[in-house]
């Protein structure tokens, strides 16, 4: 065992440049929603090089759209496939899913980036670009781990099921499709950007849209209208209070160090189309965090009640009630017992590589882990090399050292979890 461990760790150190080039190629293919195919092709090419059993399919079958956990406003996923690559075990060992998403969020204002958002530029050990941290760096570490085991001639007893899925940033339809296609395992690791922390629990979330009506008028006689932006501000104020109320209730010690365990994020506010007109409609869109120990339905009910409160207090809104919709993305929270075997094995591997114990916490966001665990019944830990605070940010980067360490930790975990076939 120790020999095998040393062999794979040494091998990963030798393919650092190769792994970096792989990550760079992945980042240089912008894979925002609907545009995932080219980045996915880079991953698929790598899987083929490693000789994995491939399953590449456009999701949408297997009763996907009618599944209660299905959450997407896309009805057609043509041209943007899911990819699964299996390193088949010799039998008798425990199986493991390694799951990464290929989609990235938009780059935002390009003026905020020091370089092209998809440059893949490397400086001081950091690789820059949208998706580097969230989560192509994690996926690269998975592929490096598999490459090391494969190319050092080690055979595992259990199957390793590598998944590169679409739609994580919009509600997890890609991972749901993989579950519905039959991919199950005795554990799963998702290398989202956790700053190398282990997250057996994850915050769930849901997207909401609130339409606030106003009444149009010419801007020169604005007093004849009702400004939808001003009414939307009342709604936003109430949502900030609701956020406060909900977070004061959180007592799980895993959240002790997190300023706002389950935030309500106001992500978009779009109102009006002419400077000289009073806007008659404001659309608020955002993300509501869901605690690991509450249901999405409970959270939805609280939001609806908060909007009722606003309506009661404002004469206009009392008649023209804000309209609440839950749309687009929705992530089920994750809640694995921190004493689970998977957490133990991953922690040991972490300690072997980093010579210190890992932080084990609750994540401030949900991942496809909720779908794998709540729908697939698979124990999940989220653990990865990305820099949490750089996800979705301008000048997003990942520390390459963490990608390499993560590859070693995952490789060691696979050796222990799936067992070496002698």
């Amino acid at each position: 065992m120790q020999v095998a461990e040393e062999k794979v760790r040494k091998y990963i150190k030798e393919i650092r440049i190769k792994g970096t080039r792989l990550l760079q190629k992945m980042v240089q293919e912008p894979s925002t929603r609907g545009e995932e195919s080219k980045a996915q092709a880079v991953v698929i090419e790598k899987c083929r090089e490693l000789g994995l059993e491939m399953d590449i399919w456009e999701i949408g079958g297997d009763g996907l759209a009618s599944h209660p956990a299905f959450c997407s406003d896309r009805s057609n996923f043509k041209g943007t496939p899911n990819a699964v690559g299996i390193m088949r075990g010799t039998g008798g060992g425990k199986s493991m899913i390694l799951n990464g998403h290929i989609d990235v969020v938009p780059a935002g204002d390009s003026n905020d980036w020091h370089r092209d958002p998809y440059s893949g530029y490397i400086e001081s050990g950091k690789l820059y670009g949208r998706g580097s941290t969230d989560m192509k760096g994690g996926t690269a570490s998975l592929l490096m781990a598999i490459e090391a085991i494969k190319n050092t001639g080690i055979k595992l007893k259990g199957d390793v099921i590598f998944q590169s899925v679409i739609e994580e940033e919009s509600g997890g339809a890609g991972s749901l499709a993989a579950v519905l296609r039959g991919y199950k395992a005795e554990a799963a690791i998702i290398p989202e950007p956790t700053n190398m922390k282990l997250f057996p629990k994850q915050q769930g979330s849901m997207w909401f849209r609130i339409a606030v009506k106003g009444k149009g008028a010419h801007g020169g006689t604005s007093y004849e209208g009702i400004n939808a932006i001003e009414k939307a501000m009342l709604v936003i104020d109430r949502l900030r209070t609701l956020e406060k109320e909900r977070n004061e209730r959180i007592t799980d010690p895993f959240f002790d160090h997190i300023p706002i365990p389950i935030p309500i994020n106001i992500g978009k506010l779009h109102a009006g189309d002419w400077p000289s007109s009073v806007p008659d409609l404001a659309i608020i869109e955002g993300r509501m965090g869901v605690a690991p120990n509450e249901t999405q339905e409970e959270a939805k009910r609280e939001m609806a009640e908060a909007l009722s409160d606003v309506s009661v207090m404002d004469a206009w809104l009392r008649i023209h009630k804000p309209k609440l919709d839950w749309f687009g993305a929705s992530w089920v929270p994750g809640d694995l017992d921190p004493e689970h075997e998977l957490v133990r094995v991953l922690s040991e591997s972490y300690t072997a590589v980093k010579i210190q114990k890992p932080f084990i916490e609750a994540s401030p966001w949900a991942t496809d882990g909720g779908i794998l665990s709540k729908i697939g019944g698979i124990p999940v830990v989220v653990f990865g090399p990305g820099v949490t605070e750089m996800a979705h940010q301008a000048n997003e980067y990942i520390k390459l050292e963490d990608v390499f360490d993560s590859a070693e930790i995952i490789a060691l975990t696979l050796l222990k979890w799936c067992e070496i076939s002698e």
Copy 2:
């Protein structure tokens, strides 16, 4: 004098059908921005029929684009000429400019119209169509007044300078070009849709854009970002206070009945592009009203100072100052002394036709009157037959009776102002 007055009033009554047909033809030529030529051709044909001295030119010369009051995002005005037709006086009388704009705002959602927006359909004494009220009906009344004087054989001492200009809806480059070409007079009437009220004073306005920076972050760790929407709300709050401060200073009795004489309208707020991300940029766009007795520069300075105030009070905005731009449209306010001779003569003419005194007020919006008065030094009253509340609306219409009354009132005003040459 009284004979002449009776003659022109009688003549205008006789050409009601002809005047209606003229207006109908003008409305049936959609003259949105850049598409004014066909409607302008209808006007020019009428001027030629009346034997006016014509000056038709594509604006852009005479230092137009470099003039401080120039406001247009068009750099080329080819194919959309200004037209001036002069009824030359015999000499010794006061001159008068009669100014109407030929451009109309877009029709908007055609589903909101009961008929084609350019039908010119007549029902119950109302003529329907985009531009009927704003302001082809006013222009038709000018042409009917000139026709009546001309065809009854009356000669005036002063020149009557009829102007049909482009670009009023986008900042007044057409009227500015006419001023720069040398067209001046001792008075001007602009028959914008005032509901037959006299507006010697007009609210000016300018469009502003304020960019408020935030700091992006993942919505699940929203506390690591700075929400640009929340910062924009601070800016909007300050603008509402500024609006209050500015309006409390207005003591002109003309504004007594107006709740907010010079509004600051927040017309647009667009921020964020992803529900799960903390928005890093909010763009506010709006219209700032300018009092008749202040300059645009003074108003701009107050807005800049208000934004400085916000910056001082917020740690983030102190470093990331909101960025203020003045863009797009800008209308100079108008401010004629209500005791001015022009107001008196026009009021008398009104009273003669309507057998009641006119309402004399300040308008809640600016017109090309600001350019004629502040740049051209010409005393201006805005007075016309259009229905104020139908301007820029679906199913815009004008009451034909008001067009005819307006033609009589303007004809009487010309007789008195320019004097009859015996």
